[in-house]
C-alpha cells in the first residue's frame, strides 16, 4: 500500500474543468449583480421565507458535505485508526474548499454584507444566547483552521519551489506546523462539533413555525451525527471520483472499513429520530399523510436504506454498492437539513418560496467553483495517495 500523497499532475484546464470554470464565472457575475441590486431583485426570498436556497443548501447542507475532514479526523486521530491516514488530505481539501465556499455564500446572503466583519470584531456586542453567532464565529474560525491543517501539503510542494522566498518560508514553517499540529487538529475537531450541532439549535428558535416532527431538543444531536454521516459518505464518493477522474486504484480495504462508521451513524440517526417521535407523543403526525409526514418518512427510508445496502460484508467490499449507498446517505442527510430549514418551516399559508433562477445559478456556480478548486489543488499539490498520474488523459 502506498500511503504517500503525490500531486496528480497533468494539464489543469482540461475540457471538463473549463466547463465548470465557466459555470463558476457565471456565478461570480451573478453575485456581483446581486450585490448591486439587492436581495429582493435577485432572489425569491421574502419576509415569510427570509432564508432560502443559499442558507438551506450552500451553508447548512454545504458545510455538512464538507465534513469529510471532520469525519476522517475522528477515525484517524481519536479512534487511532492510522490505516485511514491516506484519506485525510483529500478529505481536508474538500472540507477546506467546501467551508470556504459556504462562508462566501453567507457573505452574499446577508443583506448588509459589507458589515460582516463586525461579527468577529465587535466582541463586546456578542449575544451569547444566539446560536447563529456561535455558528458564524465557529465557521469563520474553522475555515482558517482547515487551511492550516491542509497547509503542510502546500508547503511540501513549495519547499522545492524555484522561488527562494517561498522556499525559505516553507522550510521554516513546516517544522513549526508539525509540532503544533495536534492542537490544530483538536481545534479542527472541536469547532465542527460546536457549530454543526448549533446549526440544529438555530432552527429551534423558530418555535411553532417549525413542524413538531423536526422541532425536537434532539435536533442539535441529530445535526451533529448527520454531518459525520455525510462526511464518511463524501469520502467514499470522492475516492470513487478520484479513481475515475485521475485513474487511481481505490484502496478497497480502506473504503470497506468506512462502512462500519457509516452504518453506525445511520442507525443512530434512525433510532434517535424514531425514539424521539415516540417519546414526544408525535406518532400521530407521522401518520397524518400530509407533505411533512411524507417527508419525514422519506428521510427515515433514505437513512435506513444505505444501512441495509451495506449489510452484507460482500457489498461493503464492492466499490459500486459502497458508492451507491454513500450517494443515498448524502441525499438523506441533505434532505434532513433542507427539510429542517425550509420544508418543515411554515410561516403561514400566505407565504411561499421557490428559489429564483439567479439563486439556483449562483449555487450551481459555487459548487462548480468548488470542483475546479479541488481539481487544481490535487493536480498541483500532494493530496491524493497512490501512483503519480501517467500520460493518460485525466479530468
Amino acid at each position: 500500500m502506498n500511503g504517500h500523497a503525490v500531486a496528480v499532475g497533468g494539464r489543469i484546464f482540461t475540457r471538463p474543468v473549463r466547463v465548470f470554470a465557466a459555470l463558476a464565472g457565471l456565478g461570480v457575475l451573478l453575485v456581483l449583480w446581486r450585490l448591486v441590486v439587492g436581495l429582493g431583485a435577485a432572489t425569491a426570498m421574502n419576509d415569510g421565507y427570509p432564508w432560502g436556497l443559499w442558507i438551506a443548501f450552500d451553508v447548512v447542507t454545504g458545510t455538512a458535505l464538507a465534513c469529510g475532514g471532520y469525519a476522517v479526523a475522528i477515525l484517524v486521530y481519536i479512534l487511532n485508526k492510522g490505516r485511514y491516514h491516506p484519506l485525510v488530505r483529500p478529505a481536508l481539501l474538500t472540507s477546506a474548499v467546501g467551508y470556504t465556499v459556504a462562508g462566501l455564500s453567507v457573505g452574499l446572503d446577508v443583506g448588509r454584507w459589507w458589515t460582516i466583519w463586525h461579527v468577529p470584531a465587535f466582541f463586546w456586542h456578542w449575544n451569547l444566547s444566539s446560536a447563529l453567532l456561535e455558528v458564524a464565529l465557529c465557521i469563520m474560525a474553522y475555515i482558517v483552521v482547515l487551511w492550516i491543517e491542509l497547509s503542510p501539503a502546500l508547503l511540501e510542494k513549495w519547499q522545492t519551489s524555484s522561488n527562494a522566498r517561498l522556499r525559505r518560508w516553507s522550510l521554516a514553517l513546516l517544522p513549526v506546523l508539525k509540532r503544533s499540529m495536534i492542537w490544530i487538529i483538536a481545534l479542527g475537531l472541536l469547532l465542527p462539533t460546536m457549530h454543526q450541532s448549533s446549526l440544529g439549535t438555530v432552527m429551534l428558535l423558530s418555535g411553532w413555525r417549525l413542524h413538531p416532527l423536526w422541532r425536537t431538543p434532539l435536533l442539535p444531536l441529530l445535526f451533529l451525527i448527520s454531518c459525520a454521516s455525510m462526511g464518511y459518505a463524501v469520502v467514499v464518493a470522492e475516492s470513487a471520483f478520484s479513481s475515475v477522474a485521475f485513474k487511481r486504484k481505490p484502496d478497497m480495504k480502506m473504503l470497506a472499513g468506512l462502512a462500519t462508521p457509516m452504518i453506525w451513524t445511520l442507525y443512530a440517526i434512525v433510532g434517535l429520530r424514531v425514539a424521539d417521535v415516540v417519546w414526544r407523543g408525535q406518532v400521530g403526525l407521522l401518520l397524518a399523510g400530509d407533505i411533512r409526514s411524507l417527508m419525514a418518512w422519506v428521510e427515515l427510508a433514505l437513512f435506513l436504506a444505505p444501512a441495509i445496502m451495506l449489510a452484507s460484508p460482500a457489498s461493503r467490499r464492492d466499490l459500486g454498492s459502497l458508492v451507491r449507498a454513500s450517494m443515498v446517505m448524502l441525499f438523506a442527510g441533505a434532505l434532513f437539513r433542507f427539510d429542517t430549514y425550509l420544508v418543515a418551516f411554515s410561516p403561514g399559508a400566505n407565504w411561499s418560496y421557490f428559489p429564483s433562477v439567479t439563486e439556483i445559478l449562483i449555487t450551481a456556480g459555487l459548487v462548480a467553483g468548488e470542483v475546479v478548486a479541488y481539481v487544481i489543488v490535487v493536480k498541483m499539490f500532494p493530496i491524493i495517495a497512490g501512483q503519480p498520474a501517467t500520460a493518460e488523459r485525466t479530468v
Binding site: 439587492g38 436581495l39 419576509d47 411553532w208 413555525r209 410561516p347
Partner: protein, 300 residues
C-alpha cells in the same frame, strides 16, 4: 367617557412609575417563576377589537411618524392600504371575516417581555431598551434575517428592495416618547381602540373591561402570559387564533433554543474540556503509534 378613561390612564402612565411594581403585572402568578418579569418601567399598548372601526387612521399616522412611504395596494392601487406588515408598514389593520362574525385586528410589534428577535440577533441590533421597548440599531445589523426566522409573530421585516437594507418594525414610537408624546397610532385613534400606558395599568384596564362586560369578550388578555408575555395586549370578541395570533404557551419563545445554548456553553467549560480531551487522546495515540501527524499510524 372614553376620553376621561384615557386621560386617567395617561395620568397613571406618568405617575405610576413608582406606585406600580413589577408583580402587579401578573398577580396570582407567584408560582410561575419561569415567567420573565417585564421591566419595571414597561410601557405598552392595549388594543380592543370591539372598539376598532377599521378606519386605518393609525396606519397613516404611523407612516407619517416613522417617515415611511405610502403603500397603495389593492385593485386600482388608489388608496394607501398596506395588506400586511412590510418594510413600508410598521402597523397595519387587518380584517377577519367568517360568516356573520368579523373583526378588525391591529398588527405591529408585540414588544415581547422576552423577545425572540433579541435572543436571535448576533450582535444585539435588536434589544430591549428603555421602557422595555424592543429597539433596532442598524449599526449592529448584518442583515442575516435570523430575527425574521425567530419572531413568533412574523413582525420584523427586511428591505428586500434595497441594496443597503435595514430591518423595519414598530419601535413603539420611542422617538416620540422621548419628546413626551405617545405613539402616533394611539394618539390618533378616534375610538381609543388602542391606548398607550404602563403595561401594568393596561392589564388592570383590560381586566376591568373583561369584568364589566364578560359576554363581550373572549375571556382572555392576549399577551398577558403568551410566549412569556408581551407589552402590547389584546382584547378580542373572536377567538384569538382566528385573528392571527399563534397559540403560544407561557414559555418564552426563545427558551428552548436558549436553554440548549446556555446549557451546553455555560461558562465555556464544555468546549474547553472537550478541546483538552481531544488533545490528550491524540497525544496518547501519538505515544502509542507514530508522529504528530499520525502518519506512521497502526498499519494493520
Amino acid at each position: 367617557m372614553g376620553i376621561s378613561r384615557r386621560a386617567a390612564l395617561k395620568g397613571l402612565a406618568v405617575a405610576g412609575a413608582t406606585a406600580v411594581g413589577v408583580d402587579a403585572a401578573r398577580p396570582g402568578r407567584a408560582e410561575g417563576a419561569v415567567l420573565p418579569a417585564p421591566p419595571a418601567d414597561a410601557v405598552g399598548m392595549l388594543y380592543d377589537t370591539t372598539l376598532c372601526i377599521g378606519c386605518k387612521a393609525c396606519v397613516v399616522a404611523c407612516q407619517d411618524a416613522n417617515d415611511l412611504p405610502r403603500d397603495p395596494t389593492g385593485i386600482d392601487a388608489r388608496y394607501d392600504a398596506p395588506i400586511d406588515l412590510s418594510a413600508k408598514a410598521k402597523n397595519v389593520i387587518k380584517l377577519y371575516r367568517s360568516g356573520d362574525q368579523q373583526s378588525f385586528v391591529k398588527v405591529q410589534c408585540m414588544h415581547c417581555v422576552d423577545p425572540a428577535c433579541a435572543s436571535a440577533c448576533m450582535l444585539g441590533a435588536f434589544k430591549k431598551r428603555e421602557f422595555g421597548i424592543v429597539t433596532y440599531n442598524v449599526d449592529l445589523c448584518i442583515g442575516c434575517r435570523y430575527c425574521e426566522v425567530a419572531c413568533p409573530y412574523n413582525v420584523p421585516k427586511f428591505q428586500w428592495a434595497s441594496a443597503t437594507p435595514r430591518m423595519v418594525k414598530c419601535e413603539l414610537c420611542n422617538h416620540r416618547l422621548a419628546k413626551g408624546l405617545e405613539p402616533a397610532c394611539t394618539e390618533v385613534c378616534p375610538r381609543h381602540a388602542v391606548i398607550f400606558g404602563k403595561r401594568a395599568d393596561l392589564l388592570t384596564e383590560a381586566r376591568r373591561r373583561l369584568a364589566e362586560n364578560p359576554g363581550r369578550y373572549v375571556p382572555k388578555i392576549y399577551g398577558e402570559t403568551d410566549g412569556g408575555g408581551t407589552q402590547v395586549l389584546y382584547l378580542s370578541h373572536v377567538p384569538f387564533e382566528k385573528i392571527g395570533f399563534p397559540p403560544l404557551t407561557e414559555e418564552p419563545a426563545p427558551s428552548l433554543a436558549r436553554s440548549i445554548q446556555h446549557g451546553v456553553y455555560k461558562g465555556f467549560i464544555a468546549p474547553v474540556a472537550l478541546y483538552a480531551a481531544l488533545g490528550a487522546v491524540m497525544l496518547r495515540n501519538r505515544k502509542r503509534t507514530g508522529d504528530a501527524d499520525g502518519r506512521e499510524g497502526d498499519e494493520r
